[in-house]
């Protein structure tokens, strides 16, 4: 199981398809969570992540070992996500309940507040323009470097920085507006 990514890729290219399962095991978390954060729906994220792995498999011969495998895989995944988002442009998808893993130690009330907040954040992300969404998730959720993001998006450092700047500002605006709207709604009820 400790074979390097490159060894596995070579084995796959030599016809040992089953080896690819190891790569899926290694990167499924990265691919799936990125797709989920970009698309906001588990079902779509699952379909897209599957499709992404199939594309990765079919394109293995084109993999350039100069880059990290994760960077290359993320490039394929985020491009696919951007396609999916473009196709369903205009459709509003309800944001689902968050699937958190760290709920156990919270009181039910805290857990509820946290889930609501996560939902709001995911909703704010989904309102961002697609390319901003991609950058914000890659940089702040998957903790990639500017260098990696540049090779994923194929954009220059200036463009990446500018987009990320605007993405942060928009996210902030959405979240503070959301808060205000929420408060306004509370006052209205009272």
């Amino acid at each position: 199981m400790d074979a390097s990514d490159m060894d596995i890729i070579k084995a796959c290219l030599n016809g040992d398809t089953d080896c690819f399962a190891v790569l899926i095991e290694r990167y499924k978390k990265l691919i799936f969570s990125t797709a989920y954060r970009m698309l906001g729906s588990r079902e779509e994220a699952e379909d897209t992540a599957q499709e992404a792995f199939i594309r990765i498999y079919n394109a293995l011969s084109k993999y350039n070992p100069e880059y990290k495998f994760s960077t290359w895989a993320l490039k394929i995944t985020t491009n696919l996500c951007l396609d999916v988002l473009r196709k369903k442009k205009g459709e509003t998808v309800p944001i689902e309940e968050e699937y958190g893993l760290k709920d156990d130690k919270d009181t039910p009330e805290d857990a509820y507040i946290r889930k609501e907040k996560q939902k709001a954040v995911q909703e704010a992300i989904s309102r961002l323009p697609d390319k901003y969404k991609q950058l914000l998730i890659l940089f702040h959720n998957q903790n990639l470097s500017y260098q990696e993001i540049m090779s994923i998006t194929g954009e220059s450092l200036t463009i990446v920085k500018n987009r990320l700047y605007r993405a942060r500002q928009m996210l902030k605006n959405y979240l503070t507006d959301e808060g205000k709207e929420g408060e306004a709604a509370c006052h209205a009820v009272k």
């Binding site: 599957q50 954040v121 902030k172």
Partner: protein, 188 residues
């Protein structure tokens, strides 16, 4: 220090490459500038919220699903949209080419008189070719007639020759027989 520069420092902060001096300037400015402080706090909340989003659970049997899809997939699939794109592209190009021929190419040739020139050249060419052909046929028949005449002449001379030779031979024969008869008559 202006609020614009502070905004840049904030971005450096969230990029994670702010140095101590810049950090101090940022905090110092924010102490005196309410707007920037509020903006900074709101940004920090928003970005931390994104960073703190929980890890998502992977659906059960994810790998198995991908592996079965990989093993059962048909190779060399063409996406229908891509196919449509190419077909439309080719059709468009053909329509464009036809239009170009009908509405640009042909009128241009007509206008420029190239068409009439070409047809004149062609008819002239046909005439010339016909003439050459005609001449060839005539020459050929004349040649044939010459050859026939020559053959006839040859044959004619041959028969005359044969006839003279034959008659000469007959005469000689007759002469010889007469001479023999004459000899027999002289010495019986």
């Amino acid at each position: 220090m202006s609020c614009g520069e502070i905004s840049n420092l904030m971005m450096k902060y969230f990029d994670g490459d702010i140095n101590d001096l810049e950090l101090q300037r940022l905090f110092k400015h924010n102490e005196s500038c309410k707007d920037c402080e509020l903006a900074f706090e709101a940004l920090k909340d928003a970005i931390f919220a994104v960073e703190e989003l929980p890890e998502v659970e992977i659906p059960d049997g994810f790998e198995a699903k991908v592996m079965t899809q990989i093993k059962t997939q048909t190779h060399y699939t063409i996406h229908p949209k891509v196919l449509l794109f190419w077909i439309m592209g080719a059709a468009g190009l053909m329509v464009f080419a036809l239009n170009l021929i009908f509405f640009v190419g042909i009128p241009f040739i007509k206008e420029s008189g190239l068409f009439t020139a070409l047809s004149a050249m062609m008819s002239h060419g046909f005439e010339y070719a016909a003439e050459v052909l005609n001449r060839a046929i005539i020459e050929f028949s004349i040649g044939i007639s010459y050859m026939v005449r020559f053959r006839d002449r040859l044959l004619q001379n041959y028969t005359v020759l044969i006839a003279t030779a034959a008659s000469g031979l007959v005469l000689i024969q007759m002469l010889i027989s007469r001479l023999r008869e004459f000899e027999e008559n002289q010495n019986p």
